[in-house]
C-alpha cells in the first residue's frame, strides 16, 4: 500500500499568493493543466453543438453565421488554447525537470511569465466572443479575414500573444535540457519524452515568430489597409497562406511530437521492457522537426502555386511520414517479449497506435498531389487531422494524464472507470470520424453548414459517435474529480516504472529530489532492474 507524501508542492507553502507568484515548475504546470482542461471542455462542448447541427442536411439548431463562428472558435480554442500548450506547457512543465533530475526549469521567472502571457492571450482571444465572434475559420485566410466584419482583430491578437507564451516555454525547455541535466544523464540516457519535448521546443522557437509577424500584418491589413494581402492594392492573398502555413504546418508537429514522447514512456512502463530502437526514435523526432519546415505548400496544391513547387512539397511531405512510421514499428517491437499489463494509460497507448496509424496512413492520400486535388478541403481532411490531432496527440495526452495523475496528486483514480472511459472514447472517436473519411472522398466539402441529401446517413452516424465520445469524457471528468478527494494513496511508484520521476514521493516534494540524488539506472533498464509497484 502506497503512502501519501504529506509535505508536497501542493501544500508547501500555502496561500493564494504562493500560487500566483510561484516559480515552482510543478505549480505553473498545474495551473496550465487547469487552464487547458477548461478550454478542452469549452472546445468539446462547441464540437457537440457543431455535430448536432450537422445531424440533418438543413438548418437545425443554430443559424449559418453562428455555425461559422462556432467552428472557428472550436478550431482556435482546441489548437491555440488546448493542444499546443497541453503536453509541453502543462505536463511537460511538471515532468521535464523531474525526468532529468533537475530542481526546476532553467528560467523559472520566464516560466511564470509565460503562464501570465498565456492567460492574457486567452482573455484577448476570448474577448472576440463577446465582441461578435469570428467567422473566418481558424486559418484566417485573406481576403476573407481582412474584409469580414467579425472580431478578427481580437482573435488574431490573442493568438499573437499566445505565441509569445509558446516561445517562452520553448526557450525554457531547450535551455533546461542543455544545462540542467543531472550528472550521469547523458543525451542518450534521457527519457524519450524529453527528446520529444526538446524537438518540440526547437520548432516552437523557429516557427512561432513567423506566425506572430503574419498575424501582425493581418491586423495592420484590417486596420490600415496596408495592401500587402489585398489584391485590389497590388498585394497577394495567397502570400498569407504561405506565411500562415510556414508556421502552422510545423505547429502540427509541435502538437504531435510530445505526444509521441509520452507513448514511448507508456509502452516501456507497461510492457516492462527496454525501449526498442532508442536512437531511431530520438533521431526521428529531430528529423521530423527539421523536415516539418519544408512541407507547408502541401496545404496549397489547389491554390495555383507552380507545379514545380507542388512537386517539391509533395516529395518532402512523403519523406516526413517515414520517421513517424519508424516510431510506430519500434514501439511495436518494444512490446515483443514484454510483461504487458493493461492499466488505463496503456489502453490509451494502444488506442494511440491504432488511431495514429490511421491518421498517418491517410496522410498518404493527401500528400499525393493527384488524390489531394480531389480530397482537399473536404471532410476527408477534417477526418485526417482529427485522427492525427485527437487520435494522436489527445490520446497520448490522456494516456499521460492518467499515467502521471498519481504523481501529480498522490492519489489513484478508479481503474475500472478509467478503462470503461477509455473504451467509450475509443469507440466514440472512431464512430465520429471514420464516416467523415467516406463523406470526404464522396465529395462533402468542409465548413459546410448545410449539405446535400446523399450525405445524410453518414452524418447521423458521426453525430451519434460524438455523443459516445462525450459520454467517455464526462465519465473521465467524474472519476478524476472524485479521485482528488477519496482516491487511494499512490505511493512513489504505482506502475513500477524506472523513470526518475517515480523515485521521488507522490505528490512531489517542493524541491523535487533529495540533494544526494544519484543516477543509478537509465529510464528503460527493465532488463537489469525491477522497481516494486507501490500499489
Amino acid at each position: 500500500m502506497g503512502t501519501y507524501s504529506e509535505r508536497n508542492y501542493l501544500n508547501t507553502p500555502t496561500g493564494i499568493k504562493s500560487w500566483l507568484f510561484t516559480l515552482d515548475h510543478k505549480r505553473i504546470g498545474l495551473m496550465y493543466l487547469f487552464a487547458i482542461m477548461t478550454f478542452l471542455f469549452v472546445g468539446g462542448m462547441i464540437a457537440l453543438v457543431i455535430r448536432l447541427e450537422l445531424l440533418n442536411p438543413g438548418p437545425d439548431i443554430v443559424a449559418a453565421d453562428i455555425y461559422n463562428r462556432l467552428f472557428t472558435l472550436h478550431g482556435a480554442i482546441m489548437i491555440f488554447l488546448f493542444i499546443i500548450p497541453s503536453i509541453p506547457a502543462a505536463l511537460g512543465n511538471i515532468l521535464l525537470p523531474l525526468m532529468i533530475g533537475a530542481k526546476d526549469v532553467a528560467l523559472p521567472r520566464l516560466n511564470l511569465l509565460s503562464w501570465y502571457v498565456f492567460v492574457a492571450g486567452a482573455c484577448i482571444a476570448m474577448y472576440s466572443i463577446i465582441s461578435g465572434g469570428v467567422d473566418t475559420g481558424w486559418t484566417f485566410y485573406t481576403p476573407y479575414s481582412s474584409t469580414t466584419d467579425s472580431a478578427v482583430i481580437s482573435m488574431t491578437f490573442g493568438a499573437f500573444v499566445l505565441g509569445f507564451s509558446s516561445i517562452f516555454t520553448g526557450i525554457n525547455f531547450i535551455v533546461t535540457v542543455h544545462k540542467l541535466r543531472m550528472p550521469g544523464m547523458t543525451w542518450f540516457k534521457m527519457p524519450l519524452m524529453v527528446w520529444g519535448l526538446y524537438a518540440t521546443a526547437v520548432i516552437q522557437i523557429l516557427a512561432t515568430p513567423v506566425l506572430a509577424i503574419t498575424l501582425v500584418l493581418l491586423i495592420l491589413e484590417r486596420t490600415w489597409s496596408i495592401g500587402i494581402f489585398d489584391p485590389m492594392m497590388g498585394g497577394d492573398p495567397v502570400l498569407f497562406q504561405h506565411f500562415f502555413w510556414f508556421y502552422s504546418h510545423p505547429a502540427v508537429y509541435i502538437m504531435i511530437l510530445p505526444g509521441m514522447g509520452i507513448i514511448s514512456e507508456l509502452i516501456t512502463t507497461f510492457s516492462k521492457k527496454k525501449i526498442f530502437g532508442y536512437k531511431a526514435i530520438a533521431f526521428s523526432s529531430l528529423g521530423i522537426a527539421f523536415l516539418s519546415f519544408m512541407v507547408w505548400g502541401h496545404h496549397m496544391f489547389t491554390s495555383g502555386q507552380s507545379e514545380f513547387s507542388s512537386m517539391i512539397f509533395s516529395v518532402i511531405t512523403f519523406l516526413v511520414g517515414i520517421p513517424s512510421g519508424i516510431k510506430i514499428f519500434n514501439w511495436l517491437a518494444t512490446m515483443y517479449k514484454g510483461r504487458i499489463t493493461f492499466e488505463t494509460p496503456m489502453l490509451y497507448a494502444l488506442i494511440f497506435l491504432f488511431t495514429f496509424s490511421i491518421g498517418g496512413l491517410t496522410g498518404m492520400f493527401l500528400g499525393s498531389i493527384a488524390t489531394d486535388i480531389h480530397l482537399h478541403d473536404t471532410y476527408f481532411v477534417v477526418a485526417h487531422f482529427h485522427y492525427v490531432m485527437m487520435g494522436g496527440t489527445v490520446m497520448a495526452f490522456l494516456g499521460g494524464l492518467h499515467y502521471w495523475w498519481p504523481k501529480i496528486w498522490g492519489r489513484m483514480y478508479n481503474e475500472t472507470h478509467g478503462r470503461i472511459s477509455a473504451i467509450l472514447v475509443f469507440v466514440g472517436f472512431n464512430m465520429t470520424f471514420i464516416p467523415q473519411f467516406i463523406l470526404g472522398s464522396q465529395g462533402m466539402p468542409r465548413r459546410y453548414y448545410m449539405y446535400v441529401e446523399r450525405f445524410h446517413t453518414l452524418n447521423i452516424v458521426s453525430t451519434v459517435g460524438s455523443w459516445i465520445l462525450a459520454a467517455g469524457f464526462f465519465l473521465m471528468l467524474y472519476y478524476l474529480v472524485i479521485s482528488l478527494f477519496n482516491g487511494k494513496p499512490a505511493g512513489n511508484n504505482p506502475w513500477g516504472s524506472l523513470g526518475l520521476e517515480w523515485s521521488t514521493p507522490s505528490p512531489i516534494p517542493p524541491e523535487n529530489f533529495d540533494d544526494d540524488l544519484k543516477f543509478e539506472h537509465g529510464p528503460y533498464d527493465y532488463d537489469k532492474v525491477i522497481a516494486e509497484k507501490t500499489i
Binding site: A106, L107, I174, L180, W224, I226, G227
Partner: protein, 211 residues
C-alpha cells in the same frame, strides 16, 4: 558551501546559471531574427514584383538622415560593448557612463526617425489606403511605404524596448548589484542591443540604398 546572492536555488553554481541565461538569450534573439525574417521575405517578394516602383519610391527617403542614424547605432553598439568591458573590470561608474551614452545615441536615432516620419506623413507617403502622394508613377507605391513603415516601425519599437531595459540595467548598476562576479543582465541587454543594431544594418541598405 558558499552561495552568492544572485545564484538561484535550482542552479548548482554561477557558471551554470550564466550559461543558461546566455543560451536563453541567444534563443530569444533567434526568434527575433525569424520574426524580422518573415518581413524581409515579404519585402523580397514585393521588390521582385515591383522593382521599378521600389527604385523610384526609395528616392523619397533621405539618405543623409539614414546615414547619420546608421552611424549613431553603430557607435551605440560600441559603447554598449565598452560598458560590458567596464563591468568585467569592476568599473561600475564607466559602465553607467557608457550605457547612458548608448541611450543618448538611441534617442538621437529616434529623434531623426521622428523627423523622417513627420516629413513622410506631411507628404502623404503613407502605407496602404493613407497613401496620397502623387509623385511616383509606377503602380502601387503604397506597398513600398507599407513595408517601410512596418519594418522601421517594428525596429523603432525595439529601440524603445532597448532604451527601457538599458535604463533598468543602469539603475541596477548604480545600486551596486553588478560586478565582475555577476554581470549577466548587462551582457544580455548588450546582446539585445547588438541585434537591434544589426537589424538596422540590414534595413538601411534595403530601403535607403536601392541601386
Amino acid at each position: 558551501m558558499s552561495h552568492p546572492a544572485h545564484l538561484q536555488h535550482h542552479f548548482s553554481d554561477s557558471e551554470q546559471q550564466y550559461e543558461s541565461s546566455k543560451l536563453g538569450m541567444w534563443l530569444f534573439l533567434l526568434t527575433e531574427v525569424l520574426m524580422f525574417g518573415g518581413l524581409f521575405c515579404a519585402y523580397a517578394i514585393f521588390r521582385a514584383w515591383h522593382p521599378e516602383m521600389f527604385y523610384h519610391a526609395h528616392k523619397m527617403l533621405d539618405v543623409t538622415m539614414g546615414t547619420i542614424n546608421t552611424v549613431a547605432l553603430i557607435t551605440s553598439s560600441l559603447t554598449v560593448a565598452l560598458a560590458i568591458y567596464s563591468i568585467q573590470n569592476n568599473r561600475q561608474k564607466d559602465t553607467v557612463r557608457y550605457l547612458t551614452i548608448t541611450i543618448l545615441l538611441a534617442v538621437v536615432f529616434l529623434v531623426i526617425k521622428y523627423f523622417e516620419y513627420a516629413h513622410k506623413i506631411h507628404l502623404g507617403q503613407l502605407p496602404g489606403k493613407f497613401y496620397t502622394y502623387g509623385g511616383i508613377e509606377e503602380a502601387n507605391p503604397h506597398l513600398f511605404f507599407s513595408m517601410y513603415f512596418i519594418m522601421t516601425g517594428l525596429h523603432g519599437i525595439h529601440v524603445l524596448g532597448g532604451i527601457a531595459v538599458i535604463s533598468w540595467v543602469i539603475v541596477r548598476t548604480k545600486r551596486g548589484e553588478f560586478s565582475s562576479d555577476y554581470y549577466t543582465p548587462v551582457e544580455m541587454v548588450g546582446l539585445f542591443w547588438h541585434l537591434v543594431d544589426l537589424i538596422w544594418i540590414f534595413l538601411f541598405p534595403l530601403f535607403y540604398l536601392i541601386g
